[in-house]
C-alpha cells in the first residue's frame, strides 16, 4: 500500500468516491455490515454532540470548544481498528476518537466547561490527557512506543496532530525518535487545511504532509480522510505494520474543517463561503450514508428519529456535566505533586484564613 500510493508522487489513497461508489474494490477493508452501520451511527452521534456543543457554547453554558464538523471519518476509521489496550495520544480535536476509546461525553463536556476532571477520561483505557501545546504529544507517543517494546506488550499507540502541528519541531523529533526506536506508533495527521486562519499552502512547501514521514524513514501515506473505507484500510495496514515490529507509520488524513477553529474564531475573516461549500460534497457522513442506502443497510427515513434520540442523550450528558460538583479550593493544590511540599500546604491554609476574613467583611 505504501508503495502503490507513494506520497512522493502525491498519490491519494481512496476507496469510495463522493457519491458513495466503491472505486477501488481491491482495497476495500474487511468490515461486517453490522460494524459498518455502527460506525455510521457513531459518526452521527459524534456530529450531533459536536453541533450541540457549539450551541451550548453560544448559550453561554460552556467555554471555548473546537468543532469536529466534517472530520468524523478519521475517528470512524480509527475506532474500527483501535483495541482497548491500544493507546490514544490526542491533541484537542478528536471527539469521535475519545468516545471510541470509552471516554464519556459528560467528561468531555466537563473539560470544555473548565474542569481538569474532564481530561482524566476515567473509563478509557490507555488514553492520556488532551494536549493543547501543538505537537508536543507527538514525542510522548514515541516514548510510549518505546515502553511498549521494552515491556514486550501487544499494544499500538495512536497519536493525532493537525496539519499546522507538522511545522513544530516536536513533530520532527517525535517522528525521528519513533523511527529510530522502531516504536509501534500510528501517527495520524488530521489535515483539515487550516491552522486557525493559516491555510495549508502557507504552512509548508511540501507537496503533502505524508512526504515528511518518508524523510524520517517512516512508511507514510496520504489518505482521503473523508472516506471511511480508505481510513479504515489505512489504519488496519498501519496497525499491522506497527504491531509486527516494522516501526511507526504516518497517515495524512485529508479532510476539511467545516466549522470554525474554535467557538471564538470567525472563519469569514480568512476563507470564502464558496471554498467552504466546495467541500460540502465530500462530507464523510453523507458519503457513507449514500453507500449504506445503496446497499440497503440504512433507512434514511429513520435517521431523524435517531438523531432526536441522540440529542436527548447528549442533553442528558450535558446536564450531568452542568450539575457536576463545584470546584473545591483543595483541587487547585491536591494534584500538583504526588508528595506535596509543606510550603504549598501553608499557602492553602493562609488562603483559607483570608476567605474567613472576607466573610467577616460582609
Amino acid at each position: 500500500m505504501f508503495k502503490e500510493f507513494s506520497p512522493l508522487e502525491d498519490k491519494l489513497f481512496q476507496v469510495m468516491d463522493k457519491d458513495g461508489e466503491i472505486i477501488a474494490p481491491e482495497w476495500m477493508p474487511e468490515i461486517s455490515d453490522e460494524r459498518l452501520v455502527k460506525a455510521f451511527k457513531d459518526m452521527l452521534f459524534a456530529r450531533t454532540a459536536d453541533l450541540m456543543a457549539v450551541s451550548y457554547q453560544r448559550q453561554g453554558r460552556m467555554f471555548t470548544y473546537p468543532p469536529n464538523f466534517g472530520q468524523e471519518a478519521i475517528a470512524g476509521g480509527m475506532a474500527i481498528v483501535m483495541r482497548d489496550q491500544d493507546w490514544l495520544v490526542p491533541a484537542f480535536r478528536e471527539l469521535g476518537a475519545w468516545l471510541a476509546k470509552g471516554a464519556s461525553l459528560r467528561d468531555i463536556f466537563l473539560y470544555f466547561m473548565g474542569y481538569e476532571e474532564g481530561t482524566v477520561f476515567r473509563g478509557a483505557n490507555n488514553m492520556v490527557p488532551i494536549a493543547v501545546p501543538i505537537a508536543s504529544q507527538i514525542v510522548h507517543a514515541a516514548g510510549i512506543g518505546y515502553a511498549i517494546n521494552y515491556n514486550k506488550k501487544d499494544e499500538v499507540v495512536y497519536a493525532v496532530v493537525g496539519d499546522g502541528g507538522t511545522s513544530e519541531g516536536d513533530f520532527a523529533e517525535g517522528l525521528n525518535f519513533a523511527a529510530v526506536w522502531n516504536a509501534p506508533v500510528v501517527y495520524i495527521v488530521q489535515n483539515n487545511q487550516f491552522a486557525i486562519s493559516v491555510p495549508f499552502k502557507k504552512q509548508t512547501r511540501s507537496i503533502n504532509i505524508a512526504v515528511k514521514g518518508i524523510a524520517f524513514g517512516v512508511d507514510s501515506i496520504k489518505v482521503d480522510g473523508n472516506d471511511i473505507f480508505a481510513m479504515t484500510k489505512a489504519v488496519q495496514v498501519a496497525h499491522e505494520h506497527a504491531s509486527s515490529g516494522k516501526g511507526p507509520v504516518l497517515i495524512e488524513a485529508v479532510t476539511y474543517r467545516r466549522g470554525a477553529h474554535t467557538t471564538s474564531d470567525d472563519p469569514t475573516k480568512y476563507r470564502t463561503k464558496e471554498e467552504e461549500e466546495s467541500w460540502a460534497c465530500y462530507d464523510p457522513i453523507d458519503r457513507l450514508r449514500k453507500y449504506l442506502v445503496k446497499k440497503n443497510l440504512w433507512d434514511e427515513s429513520k435517521e431523524e428519529s435517531l438523531i432526536s434520540e441522540y440529542k436527548k442523550e447528549v442533553d442528558r450528558q450535558f446536564e450531568a456535566a452542568e450539575n457536576y460538583a463545584p470546584y473545591p479550593l483543595e483541587d487547585v493544590f491536591k494534584y500538583l505533586y504526588v508528595d506535596m511540599p509543606d510550603d504549598l500546604k501553608v499557602q492553602k491554609v493562609e488562603h483559607e484564613k483570608f476567605l474567613k476574613w472576607k466573610e467577616g467583611l460582609k
Binding site: F63, E116, P133, G164, G169, I196, K269, V332, W357
Partner: protein
C-alpha cells in the same frame, strides 16, 4: 517625552495596534509576524489591518512553530531588521525558549557588541478570561531571571502605546507582555501622535503615606479597587505601577518605602522566587532601617492556574489585596 497631541479613545488592543502602525510607517526595517498575525490580524486582532496597510512582506503569517518564529527573528535582527514577533499565548512561548535564552538574550554579549538583537517578543498573558490550559499564566519572572532580556508589562492603553514604541526602538531584546484580561476592558484617551515612555521607570499612580503597594499589568486595576477599600478604612496607600519588570526601578520603590515604611507587592504569577520576592530583597538592602513591617506578598499560589471553574480560587481579588494592605498596616 509624553505627547500632547490630539487624543483618541483606545483600548489596550488598539493602542498596541497603533504603536505597531506608527513604527511600521516610520521605520522600513521593522517587520512583524507570527501565527495568524497577517491575514487574520491575530487571534486578539492586535495586528488587524496592518497587513493591508503595510504589505505582506512586512506583516505576515508564519508557520506554526514558536522556535522558528523567534529563531528567524534573531537572524533577521543580526542582519539589520527590527522584528516584532507575536507568540499567540503566554503558555506557547516555551518551544521558543532555546532561541530566547540561548540567542536572543546573548548574541550581543557573545559577539562583544558586534551583533545586536533589536527585537520585541510580544504576547498576551494572565488569567481571568475563562480559557483552556496554557492560556492564563503569568510567567514574567522566567524572562526577568534571564540575563540579557528586558521585560515590560503595560497596564493601560496609554502605557501600552508608549512602552511598545520604546520597546521597538530599543536595541535590546524586549519581552512585551500584554494583560489580555484588560485588553478591551479599559478605554482611555491616548495621544494620536507618537510618544514614548522610558523602559525601566516605574510610575507612582497615586500618592499615600501609610503603605506602598507595588503592582503591574492587570493587577493595577485590582489594586486600585483595593486602595478604594483601604481608603474607607482611613488607610492612605501609595500605588506604584512597575511598568517594567526588568530593569526594575528600585529607586522609585525605595523612595516610596522610605516614606511609608510598609510594602505590599501584588502579582498574578506564583509566589515562590517571584517578582515580589526580588523586590522584597531589594527593599531590605536599600531601606531596611525604614521598614516598619515585613514585606507582604499578595501573589499567586505556587500552582498551575486552574481551568475556568476553579480559576476564581487563584485570581487575586481586590479584597485579597486589601487584606494584604491591612495585614501590613496593622503589623
Amino acid at each position: 517625552m509624553e505627547g500632547g497631541s490630539e487624543m483618541k479613545v483606545m483600548t489596550i488592543v488598539q493602542a498596541v495596534t497603533d504603536a505597531l502602525d506608527i513604527k511600521l510607517a516610520e521605520d522600513p526595517t521593522i517587520v512583524t509576524f507570527g501565527e495568524d498575525v497577517g491575514v487574520e490580524g491575530g487571534v486578539f486582532r492586535v495586528t488587524e489591518g496592518l497587513q493591508k496597510k503595510h504589505g505582506e512582506h512586512r506583516v505576515f503569517d508564519s508557520p506554526l512553530a514558536e522556535s522558528g518564529i523567534v529563531g528567524t527573528a534573531v537572524g533577521m535582527a543580526m542582519a539589520g531588521l527590527r522584528p516584532v514577533v507575536e507568540m499567540q499565548f503566554c503558555g506557547f512561548v516555551y518551544p521558543a525558549f532555546n532561541q530566547i535564552i540561548s540567542h536572543a538574550a546573548r548574541i550581543h554579549n557573545r559577539s562583544r557588541g558586534r551583533y545586536k538583537t533589536p527585537m520585541v517578543i510580544r504576547f498576551p498573558y494572565g488569567g481571568g478570561i475563562n480559557a483552556l490550559e496554557h492560556h492564563s499564566e503569568s510567567m514574567e519572572v522566567l524572562y526577568a531571571h534571564i540575563p540579557g532580556l528586558k521585560v515590560v508589562v503595560p497596564s493601560t492603553p496609554y502605557d501600552a502605546k508608549g512602552l511598545l514604541i520604546s520597546a521597538i526602538e530599543s536595541d535590546d531584546t524586549i519581552i512585551f507582555m500584554e494583560p489580555k484580561r484588560i485588553y478591551r476592558a479599559i478605554k482611555q484617551e491616548v495621544p494620536e501622535e507618537k510618544f514614548t515612555i522610558p523602559i525601566g521607570k516605574a510610575k507612582v499612580l497615586s500618592e499615600g503615606t501609610d503603605v506602598t503597594v507595588v503592582a503591574y499589568g492587570a493587577m493595577i486595576r485590582e489594586a486600585q479597587k483595593a486602595l478604594a477599600l483601604a481608603k474607607k478604612d482611613g488607610i492612605s496607600a501609595e500605588l506604584i505601577d512597575l511598568r517594567t519588570i526588568y530593569p526594575i526601578d528600585r529607586e522609585t520603590i525605595a523612595q516610596s518605602v522610605k516614606k511609608t515604611g510598609r510594602l505590599v507587592v501584588v502579582h498574578e504569577g506564583p509566589t515562590t522566587f517571584g517578582v515580589a520576592a526580588e523586590i522584597s530583597a531589594m527593599v531590605e538592602e536599600d531601606v531596611f532601617q525604614h521598614l516598619e513591617a515585613p514585606v507582604t506578598r499578595v501573589t499567586g499560589f505556587d500552582t498551575i492556574v486552574p481551568l475556568p471553574r476553579g480559576e476564581h480560587h487563584y485570581i487575586i481579588s481586590p479584597e485579597k489585596i486589601y487584606y494584604g494592605i491591612q495585614k501590613s498596616v496593622r503589623y
